[in-house]
């Protein structure tokens, strides 16, 4: 029942949006651009990077534009992506987005092959988030009782994030919360290989939705450590040991994720310096 209500509230916003035939411009054009490219040239063309589809004669580069103008142009680009996505025809120029791996687009590609409807992408996104949230509520129920779980469910349902970002196919929001849930679960089950768990889940998050909320997510495993250190009255030696394990897992996941993106950029641009130039430019920029 809780799962269904999360899905319903998450998709309510989608219903409003689909009625207006409007797409959110917070990054979704990249996904639809990628789907157009995947259909035309295969799922791993352009090294599997997300990207925008632009008219062939239009030589402007989205990533080089000033931010305000870029957002305006991307909105237009997204309508174009939608048009191409629906018609499955047309010539275009592909501009790769070089900041994330784009694993979500690989999953969407196979879903899209079966259903060929953007709604299935949204439904899959919201369902994933709803499953993760139900797991969190299960943890709260097991640890603190039914009333805290009830208050949490009401709070999550009344928070605008569920309807506003829950169905965003570019920011797979469930992946952020997956890190939280999996790390608490690992401590709850007293799993010994914490480094491996932290590595896997943070890597999955970075591949699924890129460096969004990076510093926040890197600190999440340590929150679960703080909780269980106090609850189980862990000795300092154990806390130090666990903190080192988590740090190794988290740092290794970041290094692997950024190496994968760097490799993709090298394949696309055929230049060894391109990933370094891109990361340096984006680290001091206002958009990732």
């Amino acid at each position: 029942m809780v799962f269904t209500s999360f899905c319903a509230v998450g998709l309510w916003h989608t219903g409003v949006q689909m009625g207006n035939l409007a797409f959110k411009y917070s990054g979704e054009g990249k996904i639809f651009g990628r789907l157009v490219e995947s259909r035309a040239h295969g799922v791993f063309s352009q090294a599997g990077l997300l990207g925008w589809v632009i008219e062939p004669g239009d030589m402007r580069s989205f990533s080089q534009m000033p931010f305000g103008q870029r957002m305006h142009e991307i909105k237009i680009g997204e309508f174009q992506a939608r048009k191409l996505y629906m018609e499955v025809t047309g010539k275009y120029r592909y501009e790769a987005y070089q900041s994330q791996t784009g694993l979500q687009a690989v999953i969407y590609y196979y879903l899209d092959k079966i259903y060929h409807d953007p709604l299935i992408l949204r439904v899959s996104c919201v369902s994933f988030l709803a499953i993760v949230l139900v797991c969190w509520l299960n943890f709260v129920w097991c640890s603190f009782g039914i009333w805290p779980a009830f208050v949490s469910a009401l709070g999550i349902l009344s928070s605008p994030f569920l309807s506003e970002t829950g169905d965003n196919v570019a920011h797979v929001v469930g992946a952020h919360y997956l890190v939280l849930v999996v790390m608490f679960w690992a401590y709850h089950k007293r799993i010994a290989r914490l480094a491996a768990v932290a590595f896997s889940v943070v890597l999955l998050k970075l591949l699924l939705n890129g460096p969004e909320f990076l510093f926040d997510v890197l600190l999440l495993p340590f929150v679960s450590l703080v909780y269980y250190a106090i609850l189980r009255q862990m000795p300092w030696s154990k806390i130090r040991h666990d903190a080192c394990q988590l740090a190794i897992g988290v740092i290794a996941a970041s290094v692997v994720a950024f190496s994968v993106v760097a490799l993709q950029i090298i394949i696309v641009t055929q230049s060894l310096q391109a990933p370094f130039a891109h990361f340096v430019e984006r680290s001091s920029s206002e958009h990732l």
């Binding site: 931010f67 605008p160 926040d216 206002e286």
Partner: protein, 138 residues
């Protein structure tokens, strides 16, 4: 210079800009935390309510020495560092893309806070019932 969706512009004087950080914190604390229809509370109000309930939670811990309450209380307040790390360290991004970044508070501060509120309400109501029973019998 950073331009936000609503057209506001921030001037960067250096890589680390304290004015921008203060402005961002002010902005992020003003976003809606919980809402039903058009009525809602902002994050600063949510944090205010949570502070009051935290005092109550500490009192309940001292009363029954349940370690789970202390663990949740401390973790909730430590976890506020996670969203603050993103808002402050990635100030360029959090300044421009406020549409999605406003929900960084949920990761995991708001979630833990909701569990803490639930624990305080449950334990607090039990305590009140116990006091009423004692008054009746006494």
């Amino acid at each position: 210079m950073t331009t936000t969706y609503d057209g506001r512009q921030f001037h960067h004087h250096s890589f680390w800009d304290y004015t921008l950080t203060a402005d961002l914190l002010d902005k992020y604390l003003g976003f809606t935390a919980l809402a039903v229809g058009y009525r809602g509370i902002t994050f600063i109000q949510f944090i205010g309510i949570l502070s009051l309930l935290s005092v109550l939670a500490y009192y309940l811990y001292r009363l029954h020495h349940q370690r789970v309450i202390l663990a949740l209380l401390v973790t909730t307040w430590v976890s506020i560092l996670c969203p603050l790390a993103w808002i402050v360290l990635a100030q360029g991004h959090s300044g421009s893309e406020t549409g999605t970044d406003r929900y960084v508070w949920n990761l995991p501060f708001t979630f833990l806070a909701l569990a803490l509120i639930g624990v305080v309400l449950e334990q607090g109501s039990q305590e009140v019932r116990r006091i009423i029973n004692r008054l009746h019998t006494g």
